[in-house]
């Protein structure tokens, strides 16, 4: 067993275990903490695939940004003594069936399809390449999505401030 395999099984095991716990835990903040573990293990998978920049973005934005935001809103809207009611058997069984059918179908398709994988060079793209291709408008340049994302982020920022702002008392 090589170190890559060990890391893969460790991280994917953590991902699966904690994502199940995220959607089934009956205490809301525990679910958020399990979500944090899922996201950190995903960053581990990116480190393993040698995309270090992406992994660090995953840690900063997901683990340090989105999860903190979610935990903040939990702190504002819930109380520690709250627990979700257990699910109705009917709802649980039917959702599980639908999900299992979908998962089975997709996994069978994946395993049937032979991907012609290249022998990977496993090289980490260096920061200069990432930076220049984000701002280049030639082939393999991503300046258009980059600019669209920046406009989207601005719009989201304005929107969230307007929505969450307290209405003036009349």
């Amino acid at each position: 067993m090589s170190i890559h395999e060990l890391m893969f099984y460790l991280f994917s095991g953590m991902i699966l275990l904690f994502s199940v716990l995220t959607v089934t835990s009956r205490r809301i903040l525990r679910a958020a903490v399990y979500l944090l573990f899922v996201l950190v293990s995903t960053a581990g998978i990116y480190f393993m695939l040698n995309y270090q920049f992406l992994a660090a973005v995953q840690l900063t934005l997901y683990a340090g940004g989105i999860v903190v935001l979610i935990i903040f809103s939990i702190l504002l809207t819930s109380h520690i003594s709250q627990k979700f009611e257990p699910l109705g058997v009917k709802k649980m069984v039917f959702s599980a069936l639908a999900v299992a059918a979908g998962a089975l179908l997709s996994i069978m398709t994946i395993l049937d399809f032979g991907f012609d994988t290249v022998v990977t060079t496993s090289q980490n793209p260096d920061m200069e390449l990432i930076g220049t291709s984000l701002l280049s408008y030639e082939k393999n340049g991503y300046v258009l999505p980059f600019e669209v994302i920046s406009v989207l982020l601005l719009a989201a920022m304005v929107a969230s401030i307007v929505i969450a702002k307290k209405e003036k008392s009349k």
């Binding site: 893969f8 991902i15 199940v20 809207t77 994988t117 390449l129 929505i163």
Partner: protein, 105 residues
């Protein structure tokens, strides 16, 4: 080396994660937990993109950049969703999707 792990293993993990997210989306009632399920779904898609990039086109960076953009979109989406959740909480003083049933005040 990396070639000891077939590509399909990554895809199986991300598929399972995607459907676990869908299960959460179907069964949860609290708005914040629904948001968490959506984050799981987005994350599983990211794993797919990155694995495809590494295994099928290792000398290009399409999958890498699309994962970056998905993460940015996810951040924007989470910010707006949480703003909506806070303002729903202010009006109904709970965030259960089944109790938020009035169209307009």
């Amino acid at each position: 080396m990396l070639s000891e792990i077939p590509l399909s293993y990554f895809l199986v993990v991300s598929t399972l994660m995607f459907f676990i997210g869908i299960y959460g989306f179907l069964t949860r009632k609290n708005l914040i937990t629904i948001l968490m399920a959506v984050e799981l779904i987005l994350n599983s898609v990211n794993i797919n993109f990155v694995a495809f990039n590494r295994y099928l086109f290792p000398d290009q960076l399409e999958g890498h950049f699309f994962s970056l953009f998905i993460i940015a979109v996810a951040a924007a989406e989470a910010a707006v969703a949480i703003a909506i959740i806070i303002s729903v909480y202010r009006r109904y003083s709970n965030i259960d999707v089944e109790r938020v049933d009035t169209m307009k005040f």
